[in-house]
């Protein structure tokens, strides 16, 4: 059975030879046109006059379109119908597409896009969280989840802390930038190749922009060069632009963003500020807590409401909060429209409670691990049913045992002692260590999205064609799902043809997001394969007069007890000749999830995924430079569908999460211009930043309590938050720089600059 084996990524051989084709690698017809957006150079205001003649006169330019030239709907938004493809005269952020250049080459289009002369009446942009609060700019009124009586609990608590953490955003930096290719078909139909996690949405937006029904547009996605949420909605603009020009000219049209444009135009992870007040006992047990989350959404709504919801839904992380109030402000600003990014608000919410725990430990002079230990949800074996702040029972908690196991294998207690010893003996280099947990809710919180479809064919030679609604962005979804199909038929993985996601094969799909890819599509594929298998069994029962249990599919063969063994190909051929249908669709909808987001109550998640990490860091008190010396991770993926791919997700997620909290800093100037719009200024982790010692393990006791595909658990997002251990270890190291009386209250990302300021604050305190 191929499920649970560490098989390589389905396209690995193509990747190592450079033969895997991304959209920008596809050979295009010679008359293909290329597009570039002309971007606004102010962050807020109105266009008073626009002279596009110099653009039109530039070499290679065929046409320049503005919003007045669009045939139908001028909208590329994910939900709220508030994102025009081209500005309608109002400017909402610096870098907003204003006009569209059609040229004979990519370079010609980009060069010409710089030549417009636009007069604006400029307004003062609303950039920061404080600006938005002052201006009352929000996407909806604040939302509040309440459990118990937090104010009363805080009022009578033995200890109370108050504080605040600023949390920076994050650029996705998928290595392949956004790209789309539109190929006009007969009768006004359109074929789109898009680097998108959400082909169905691309289909719907293109159809809307062309003024045509969905069935006239086909979207195909073979693979993306990374997504991380950044390609859930942000590809709409390119797909729509290429489709419109393809329809108008009858020619193939391609558009890709250069890295700078990609970073300037597209949304990022939401910046947050979280204010907190917590009451707690002498042991550090939290008796009452109140969070106020301020979320910077940017100029358009995009997925901000759901992201802010998920931040609220993760304000507890793995801790049982008996009395909690979580208030969320969803703010509108004149910056890029922030969007989905791995964790989808969860990491920000989680960082809030981790900060509270760290702060409590400092206040009590305890090891933060001890404070964590007294606050975890109780293990699932424990009869007591504890609930989240949104009143969902936590019935699958395994964090206690995982943390105990990890603390032992990572030698946490002894190393904490060694760190203290090091810090007592060394003045310049200080060390810190931290163990942090992750509990992450799995399911789309917009409940209806928890559905998936699949299409499976068996050809008469026994080869299998597999299709489903999920997209491949490097995570190995196609491989995992093919393993499910191979297992159903007892075939080797090589017998399964994995095919591009295609809206003409499986309709009405959800985005490949929320870590749901293999949970949803794996089950849908299994449903299709089970039908086909049952048809083959029914056929063979008739042929051989045997029972179902006498027929086994294994090793590429079909064994019939007491009779001959047939090759799968022979069975397929004979079934075909006996007029058995060899094609099936499969469908899956996650059971049992339902909640009310406005009341903050119900079961938004089918289950939780858990993990924990221990990181040890060293910081240089003279420069703020830092290194991760060692990280140990234990992560729960249930019963792994593919340990090699799952480990890859855990390692990659951790490093990406660490980047978010350390080196990756987005800087805007006071006009709203993004200053960090290339890898020269925006630093994602490099090979040299990986922990010097990195021990990563999947939890061998992992088993999903719920009936997921082969009892596996989702793995895309949860490990991202393991990076919190590095942030907390840095905080721990900074604490060692002074007399230990003041809490470092480090903001994220902990860049060398921030670390240095925090060290100075500690040392200043010492000197005072």
């Amino acid at each position: 059975m191929s499920v649970s084996k560490p098989l390589p990524h389905d396209a690995a051989c193509l990747h190592v030879t450079g033969a895997a084709r991304y959209i920008d690698d596809l050979a295009t017809p010679a008359d293909t046109l290329h597009l570039a957006f002309g971007l606004s150079t102010i962050a807020r205001g109105r266009i008073e006059a626009m002279d596009l003649d110099p653009v039109r006169a530039a070499d290679g330019v065929l046409e320049v379109l503005t919003s007045l030239d669009l045939p139908a709907d001028n909208d590329v938004s994910a939900a709220a119908h508030d994102e025009p493809l081209l500005s309608d005269g109002t400017i909402h952020y610096m870098g907003q597409p204003v006009f569209l250049v059609v040229a004979t080459s990519h370079m010609a289009a980009r060069k010409a896009a710089r030549l417009a002369r636009i007069d604006y009446s400029e307004q003062t942009p609303i950039l920061s969280i404080d600006d938005a609060l002052a201006a009352g700019q929000a996407f909806e009124p604040p939302l509040e989840f309440v459990k118990g009586d937090p104010e009363a609990a805080i009022a009578c608590a033995a200890h109370v802390i108050e504080g605040q953490i600023e949390i920076g955003g994050q650029e996705h930096f998928y290595l392949e930038g956004h790209v789309a290719l539109a190929l006009p078909q007969e009768g006004g139909d359109m074929l789109i190749h898009s680097s998108s996690q959400h082909p169905s949405e691309i289909q719907h937006k293109v159809a809307g922009a062309l003024g045509q029904p969905f069935n006239s547009v086909r979207v195909e996605v073979r693979r993306m060069g990374g997504g991380f949420g950044g390609k859930e909605s942000q590809g709409n603009a390119l797909a729509v632009a290429t489709a419109i020009v393809a329809q108008q000219t009858g020619k193939p049209v391609k558009m890709r963003y250069d890295r700078d444009d990609d970073m300037i135009i597209t949304g990022k992870r939401h910046e947050f500020r979280i204010d907190y007040i917590a009451g707690f006992s002498d042991e550090g047990r939290i008796t009452g807590v109140s969070f106020t989350q301020y979320c910077r959404g940017g100029w358009a709504q995009d997925l901000t409401l759901a992201i802010a919801d998920r931040a609220m839904l993760h304000a507890d992380n793995a801790y049982h909060l008996e009395n909690a109030r979580i208030t969320s402000h969803r703010l509108r600003t004149n910056t890029v429209s922030n969007t989905a990014y791995r964790g989808f608000g969860g990491p920000q919410g989680l960082l809030g409670i981790e900060r509270v725990i760290d702060h409590i430990a400092h206040e009590l002079g305890k090891d933060p691990k001890q404070v964590r230990d007294v606050n975890y949800y109780r293990p699932m074996s424990d009869a007591a049913k504890e609930t989240t702040p949104y009143h969902m029972e936590v019935t699958d908690c395994v964090i206690n045992e995982m943390v105990a196991t990890l603390a032992k294998t990572a030698d946490y207690t002894e190393r904490r002692r060694a760190v203290a010893k090091w810090n007592a003996e060394n003045k310049i280099l200080k060390r810190g260590i931290a163990l942090t947990p992750v509990k992450f809710g799995i399911s789309f919180t917009l409940t209806f999205l928890n559905q998936a479809g699949a299409l499976v064919h068996i050809y008469s030679d026994g080869s299998v064609h597999l299709n489903h609604g999920g997209t491949e962005m490097g995570q190995g979804l196609f491989t995992k799902v093919a393993q499910v199909a191979a297992s159903a038929f007892g075939l080797p993985l090589t017998a399964i043809k994995i095919t591009a996601t295609d809206t003409a094969k499986v309709p009405n799909t959800s985005a490949t997001a929320a870590s749901s890819g293999s949970d949803l599509n794996g089950m849908a594929v299994k449903a299709a394969c089970d039908q086909l298998r049952n048809r083959l069994i029914r056929f063979l029962k008739g042929e051989y007069a045997v029972k179902s249990q006498d027929i086994r599919f294994e090793d590429g063969q079909v064994r019939i007890s007491g009779h001959e063994t047939l090759s799968f190909a022979e069975v397929a051929s004979r079934a075909y000749q006996n007029r058995v249908s060899l094609s099936a669709t499969g469908f899956y909808a996650t059971p049992d999830v339902a909640w009310d987001r406005l009341k903050g109550s119900g079961r938004p998640f089918y289950y939780f995924a858990y993990g924990a990490a221990v990181s040890e860091v060293v910081i240089d008190t003279l420069t703020g430079e830092n290194r991760i010396l060692r990280t140990d991770i234990l992560h729960d993926v249930g019963r792994s569908l593919n340990p090699a791919l799952d480990l890859g997700q855990v390692e990659g997620g951790f490093v990406q999460g660490t980047g978010w909290l350390t080196t990756e800093e987005l800087v805007w100037d006071d006009k709203g211009r993004l200053l960090t719009h290339a890898p020269s200024t925006y630093k994602i982790p490099a090979c040299s930043d990986r922990p010097a010692e990195f021990n990563v393990h999947l939890w061998d006791k992992g088993l999903n309590q719920e009936k997921t595909i082969y009892r596996s658990k989702a793995v895309g997002e949860p490990p991202f938050m393991l990076g919190t251990s590095v942030f907390m270890a840095i905080s721990d190291a900074i604490s060692a720089c002074g007399d230990g009386r003041s809490y470092p209250a480090l903001d994220a990302p902990a860049t060398p600059e921030r670390i240095l300021f925090a060290i100075k604050a500690q040392q200043g305190r010492e000197g005072a």
């Binding site: 450079g18 690698d25 290595l175 990374g226 890295r259 490097g474 390692e651 990406q656 982790p685 990195f694």
Partner: protein, 159 residues
């Protein structure tokens, strides 16, 4: 703009092309010669996705002009496998799951090959710092480092 005639050797094959004076080697490889293994990750020499070797030296092909290829020997990821047999680096990347989305993979393979040609027995730290100019957003680098070290051991064994 008038085009320049360039004669060069790519992956051991004598190759001629016409290109404009301001065209990068990356554009020539991808758009004129249809060698799309090298990718444009940033266009500013910071990400390493377009790595190739020019006369044995590792370069970012987005920072080299096409005309600079005149008389030079260029190797790309497409030239790594020989006669259908994968280079040990390619094989180890496959075996050890050292790739995810795959966009950085060609550049990292070319860069790693350049390292092993200079230093057949690198330490883990040398691998980590040599590859620091090749960004990967997916893997977290651990399996990449292990694959390079494993391939180095293989190559030393074969030598």
């Amino acid at each position: 703009m008038s085009k320049t005639h360039v004669t060069t050797t790519i992956n051991g094959t004598r190759t001629e092309f016409l290109c404009e004076a301001n065209e990068t080697l990356l554009t020539v490889l991808r758009d004129r010669l249809h060698l799309t293994g090298a990718k444009e990750g940033c266009g500013s020499g910071d990400c390493g996705a377009c790595s190739v070797t020019l006369n044995g030296r590792l370069v970012a092909s987005c920072l080299v002009l096409g005309v600079e290829a005149e008389g030079a020997e260029i190797t790309t990821v497409e030239g790594m496998a020989e006669g259908g047999e994968l280079h040990p680096l390619q094989q180890k990347f496959l075996d050890l799951a050292a790739l995810q989305c795959g966009v950085c993979t060609p550049g990292i393979l070319v860069a790693a090959k350049a390292l092993l040609e200079k230093n057949p027995d690198p330490s883990e730290q040398e691998v980590r710092y040599w590859l620091a100019g090749n960004l990967c957003r997916c893997t977290g680098y651990d399996k990449i480092i292990k694959a390079v070290l494993a391939a180095a051991a293989d190559l030393r064994g074969a030598a």
